[in-house]
């Protein structure tokens, strides 16, 4: 298991950088939006929490197809499935590796990007907290979607289509936390919901992913 994790992390670094790139995509989306909607500070600071969350979600989404597709194409997944590692464990570890290379950097970068989007001062804590509790769910749900589409050549966009509705609750609660935080309101309830979603998906979805992977490997 740990071997698999270190291998995945190492691959992410070598392959022109899972780390750097997920992050830069986040950055770029955040930078694009002011060009799109125009540079008024008041407007920007109003939409900042939402845009940060949407950008984080898209950055996660884009790196999802790496989770299993690469291993499927070069035959590693067949070999992993016949190895002593349980497939549930493989699915969980791969989601974890995805979170470490994509989710975690986003959490750390969010304050900086908040500055770019003129996020109000009270909003920094909540955006970081909400991403911290929300991104694990994004990775696990995403790993499920990636497992579903792994047999399909370039299932990338199909993957987005399948995963996005699954992301909705996480997004809604996450953005709610961030928005309430930015407006200085209480945000405990949505934060708890968010943590609940993350915990539940972490506990259950790896099993679904493993089931689906087995079907796809047939």
């Amino acid at each position: 298991m740990i071997a698999l994790l270190t291998r995945d992390l190492r691959l992410a670094m070598r392959a022109g950088g899972g780390f750097g790139l997920g992050l830069s995509f986040f950055l770029i989306v955040v930078v694009l939006v002011p060009f799109g909607v125009g540079p008024e500070t008041a407007l920007l600071s109003k939409i900042a929490p939402g845009v940060l969350w949407v950008a984080a979600l898209l950055a996660c989404l884009l790196s999802l197809d790496r989770i299993f597709a690469l291993d499927f194409e070069d035959g590693s997944l067949d070999l992993l499935a016949t190895s002593p590692l349980p497939l549930e464990g493989v699915a969980a570890v791969k989601a974890l590796a995805h979170w470490l290379t994509t989710g975690l950097p986003l959490v750390l970068a969010a304050p900086v990007l908040g500055l770019l989007m003129s996020l109000p001062a009270s909003g920094f804590g909540p955006i970081v907290l909400s991403l911290l509790f929300g991104t694990p769910a994004l990775s696990v749900i995403g790993a499920f979607g990636a497992a579903l589409t792994v047999g399909i050549k370039r299932g990338g966009l199909l993957l987005s289509l399948l995963v996005l509705p699954l992301y909705m609750p996480t997004l809604i609660f996450g953005a709610e936390v961030a928005r309430r935080g930015a407006e200085g309101q209480d945000y405990m309830t949505p934060l708890l919901m968010l943590a609940g979603i993350s915990a539940a998906t972490l506990a259950l979805l790896p099993f679904a992913s493993a089931t689906v992977l087995r079907v796809n490997l047939r």
Binding site: R10, D74, L77
Partner: protein, 208 residues
Amino acid sequence: MIAMELRVDNLTVARGGLPVLEGVSFALTAGRALVLRGPNGCGKTTLLRTIAGLQPAPVGEISLDREAMAYGAHADGLKATLTVEENLTFWAQAFGTDQVEAAIASFNLDELRTRTAGTLSAGQKRRLGLARLMVTGRPVWILDEPTVSLDAWSVKLFADVVREHLKAGGMALLATHIDLGLEEADELELEPFKAVSSLGDSFDEAFL
């Protein structure tokens, strides 16, 4: 190692929802190798994948658990950005063994040890892929055309490794079109098992 046996009994294998081979039976005992022969498209790959437990068999029995088998497919499962050594080490850890050095020595990969797998030539990649089998520590090797793009000298190297494995009580099941120089291996011609086009009722009542 306890003496074990791989016994395949009246197996039907299917691909794309259709049976390809029917009624395949054979037994493989410790220390023996079996070479599967048959023209292109007769179903060798499908049979090997079924035995390795990667796809279900509609009919028939396979006596050994997939836990005993190491499967070597056409694709080698190498990571282009990892070095030869890192590739092997990962699989050794996944299978909980520590035979990386032995594998590197057997397949003469020592010079290539620090090269990333992506820069190897076709034959060198294949050698690395075969070395992976050694680090699994599994007794039954299931190999699909293992010597594709190997030169004569490497084929001999491979035959020696297989012989060594058999001597230690292992088994090998291979599909190939090329002569491997494994004279002691049994052969099984798959042509006679070709599925006839009408199915038995049990396979899928609806779609006879």
